[in-house]
Amino acid sequence: MSSESSKWPLWEVFVRSRQGLSHKHVGSLHASDATMAIANARDVYTRRQEGVSIWVLPAEAISASSPADKDILFDPANDKVYRHPTFYTLPDEVKNM
């Protein structure tokens, strides 16, 4: 009794909550094509005016970094504290910098 909808691709849904903000990932759904994915995303993810614009893209089109590479990718930033303004101490006389 396998359903045809399962053969529909998985789409990741991104919603712009209001003009001026970027699209944000909200979830995923199955749909036969992009038009249906947008229609379904509208019903599933924006029933309470959560958005003004929707992006959908096939989940299989996303390339992701591996959790195993987390340290290799992100740890080196740890010892570069000089990239943050708080690294620099300023004389009290200097205001507004």
Binding site: S6, R47, A68
Partner: protein
């Protein structure tokens, strides 16, 4: 997406340790992170049962959409039932991030292999049941779901945040129905009382078996999937609800219920667990009807799904004049 395969340099022990460290530090586990098989299985079981409950939960209320007493009530009920469908979809998606397949989950439901909340196997006999369900059943669901917003598995926790935001209107609209009935005629008050009588015990059963006989409690608590035990949540629900019952001028069908001054909690009578397990086993008043309705909906929608697939395929393979020229 491909399941994450650990690189050989990382020993399984290290992976398990990292997982345990994440849990201990209240860090979320995400879809592609390594996790113990049992953690994955427990989540798939719990999330899919939760999703099924949302979907089957549409049926008792759907029963009254055409007979709602006013256009506004009908619009509200429609919106609520549509929300339940949405909640089911958020949850199926969360289960899929763990590698479950949507059609397997669907098949398990319509073939009667999957469990869902026993409460939805009771019939909705009067309009007051729309009130009692929103107020008590959604109320109990919120009590269960709020702690799940902090569940250790990220996609489940995020789905729960959305669900909880939407559920609070469900409970309020139900309470309002009860309030209106209780402010009405004697007949309406009796209808409200009758409904409370029928839904009270099944609502308390929604929190699951007593802690000493709950099979999944301990491990789920350790993994921070569950944050509070069944009995704790049930107690909280009773303490919160009894003052509301009194406000309505109704009484719960529990002659042993009493306020305990020293503990600051209500003490409740014994729950008929025989009834609970009987309904779970498929012998509730509406189990067969619910599955039959789900099956029919699935079957009736088949041609639509087929048409959509055929159309998508046609559009994919369609050769436009421009493409012909380019080639």
């Amino acid at each position: 997406m491909e399941p994450y395969i650990c690189s050989e340099s990382i020993h399984a022990m290290d992976l398990n340790q990292r997982f345990e460290d994440y849990i201990a530090a209240d860090q979320k586990i995400e879809a592609k992170d390594w996790m113990p098989d049992d953690y994955r299985k427990t989540l798939i079981r719990q999330i899919s049962q939760h999703a099924h409950s949302e979907i089957i939960g549409m049926l008792p209320e759907g029963n009254w959409i055409t007979r709602a007493p006013s256009l506004q009530r009908k619009a509200i009920l429609l919106a609520k039932v549509q929300d339940e469908a949405g909640h089911g979809l958020y949850l199926y998606s969360a289960a899929e991030t763990l590698g479950a397949q949507r059609d397997d989950l669907m098949d398990a439901l319509i073939e009667g292999r999957a469990k869902y909340s026993s409460i939805f196997n009771y019939p909705t006999l009067t309009w007051a049941d729309m009130g009692a369900i929103g107020w008590l059943v959604d109320g109990a669901a919120i009590m269960n779901q709020v702690p799940l917003c902090k569940c250790s598995y990220g996609p489940y926790a995020r789905a729960m945040v959305r669900v909880c935001k939407e559920e609070s209107f469900h409970q309020r609209q139900g309470f309002q129905i009860m309030l209106n009935l209780c402010e009405g005629t004697d007949e309406q008050r009796e209808m409200a009382q009758d409904s409370l009588n029928r839904w009270w015990w099944p609502s308390l059963m929604m929190f699951g078996p007593n802690d000493e006989s709950s099979t999944h409690n301990e491990q789920s608590m350790r993994w921070k999937i569950k944050r509070f035990s069944n009995d704790e949540l049930r107690q909280r629900f009773v303490d919160m609800t009894i003052p509301q019952v009194e406000l309505l001028g109704l009484t719960v069908p529990d002659k042993d219920l009493k306020w305990n001054q020293s503990t600051g909690h209500y003490e409740m009578g014994a729950i008929d667990w025989q009834e609970f397990f009987n309904v779970i086993a498929g012998n509730g008043p509406c189990n067969k009807e619910r599955i039959a309705a789900r099956k029919k909906a699935h079957r009736d929608g088949q041609w639509v799904r087929q048409a959509a697939s055929a159309y998508a395929e046609k559009m994919r393979t369609k050769v436009t004049p421009n493409q012909t020229n380019a080639a």
